[in-house]
Amino acid sequence: MGKLLSHRLAVPVVIALLVVALSFAMPSNFYYRVAALVWISALAVIGLNLLMGYAGQVSLGHAGFFGIGAYAVAVLPAQFGLHPLVAALAGAVATAAIAFLVGRPILRLKGHYLAVATLGFGILIAMTISNEAWLTGGPDGMPVERLTLFGWRVRGADTWYWISGGLLVIGAWIACNLVASPTGRALRALHDSEVAARVAGIDVARAKLTVFVISAVYASVAGSTLALVNGFVTPDKANFLHSIELVTMVVLGGMGSILGSLAGAAILVVLPQVLTGFHDYEHMILGLIMMVIMIVLRAGIVPSLAAFFQGRRNK
């Protein structure tokens, strides 16, 4: 069992089974929609977790990349008549290019200094989006053209459930492969000690830059998907609050755990939906739950629970 779970394909298969199994338990379109939002957030969180959990580098600016992806599928079809899929691809390429350019100087910084630099960078993107109203509709946001594939108009919460679920499985699969690759081992080495990694012959700057670009592309693809699902984009998805939300999802679910990324995203997407019934007390309860989870399961939900069950079995 333990051996099976540690196989490289185990996590994507578990997620795929989860997506299929949950589809039988969906009472209404609303649930499909919330689940699709969980898959999309989880995709962005997996990318960020590669950066934070495996390479040990913080980014408080990932919502900026998310925003670039979202606005690419909004602006490019509206202005240049590009197909939304081409626009999403262009968004991903642009994100990769930007991450590559800013990554080199920014990733020289460490710890909290890196956090504040990425925070500033994310704020720059968010400000550009909300201030250049002629292009992006400004703070009010702008509509997104519906996705049409071979004459078939993609719509309906259940359709998007399957599409975003599929993207999540692919994202998890790529992430698991990356972690098991030489690059993944290099990342874990530099997480423990940059100097030691360098001594062992790892090109630290290049490894960090690689994972930064990859994680930015994850965020961009998630942003594009969300924009297509909602049919509308607003600048708050590029905002620093969303960046903090993504980081919180990573830590809550568990750093360095792909399944944890899904758990963290699920909690922070589903909880606010459940808590709207509590009206004014919504934020208090959300904050309280976050604190309790982090105090009790301090390594994050999935790693802490895994360690707990492992410990019981070994007794």
Partner: protein, 290 residues
């Protein structure tokens, strides 16, 4: 020229608030390695409690003292109930706990107070003082003077009192501090209480100028954090200089370049400074131990 003076005064006023928030970050960070993202909530609690106490008929000086006490109690509870139980957890876990605390406190303020914007009457009237062609609000002097007094008091506390030196010792080396008999848990609690008081004072002083509401904390926390990093994390002097610099940059950027991009201008300068000095303005070059 009067224009420049005007921008500088308003920049320094806002900057003084950032500086106080950054000082709060620094005090807690030095004592406990926690980056407290609930720091901005203390500013909110100070302002909002004073507003509601005066509205209920409490005289201003009493309301101010009461608001500071409320913030101090919240700071102590934050340490005892949220940070202390998670002792030994990784710094990122602790940061997420403080973010949870900040969401909780914002939600609490929504329920206890309300979701409106509130102001306080200025402490010594609204008649601007003319100085070199610029019109300066008397409240600006309260903010700048208050910040200066706090900085001097803190300097005295850290350099002239035994408890202050215990805090410094804890910041320098926690294990060694415990070995010479310092109650480090008390020192950490004290640092949260002090930071809360400083934040509350900043909130009270600036409310007549910038207004307050239940959700002003998060943005202030981010600006204060950025200011602390600009100065060099853990350095009190850096926190003050960083805070004033961020405030000045915002005001000058808004005045001369673009008011819609004022936050961007401050962050561009921070990015450039960090590229040149990766440890902040007053930071020491860090060396990784292997």
């Amino acid at each position: 020229m009067p224009e420049l003076l005007q921008f500088c005064v308003s920049g320094l006023t806002v900057g003084a608030v950032y500086a106080l928030v950054a000082l709060g970050f620094t005090i807690i960070y030095n004592a406990s390695d926690v980056v407290n993202f609930a720091q901005g909530e203390f500013v909110m609690i100070g302002g909002m409690t004073t507003v509601f106490a005066t509205a209920a008929g409490v005289p201003l000086p009493l309301a101010v003292i009461g608001a500071i006490l409320v913030a101090m109690v919240v700071g102590l509870l934050l340490h005892r109930l949220a940070i202390e139980p998670a002792r030994g957890a990784s710094p990122v876990t602790l940061i997420i706990i403080t973010i949870g605390a900040s969401i909780f406190l914002r939600g609490l303020a929504q329920v206890v107070f309300d979701k409106q914007f509130h102001s306080l009457p200025a402490f010594s009237g609204d008649t601007p003082i003319r100085f070199g062609g610029a019109a300066i609000l008397p409240q600006s002097f309260w903010v700048l003077g208050g910040a200066a007094v706090i900085v001097v008091l803190l300097w005295g506390f850290f350099n002239r009192t035994l408890i202050g030196k215990a805090v410094l010792a804890t910041a320098a080396n926690r294990l060694a501090a415990r070995l010479v008999g310092i109650n480090t848990s008390f020192v950490m609690g004290l640092s949260f209480v002090m930071s809360a008081a400083i934040g509350a004072i900043a909130g009270i002083l600036v409310t007549p100028i910038t207004l307050t509401s239940y959700d002003v904390g998060m943005l202030l926390a981010l600006k204060g954090f950025a200011a602390a990093m600009l100065g060099g994390m853990g350095n009190p002097l850096g926190a003050v200089v960083g805070g004033l610099a961020v405030g000045l940059l915002e005001a000058l950027g808004a005045g001369y370049i673009s008011s819609t991009y004022k936050d961007a201008i401050a962050f561009i300068v921070i990015l450039v400074v960090l590229f040149a000095l990766p440890g902040g303005l007053f930071g020491k070059a860090s060396v990784e131990r292997v």
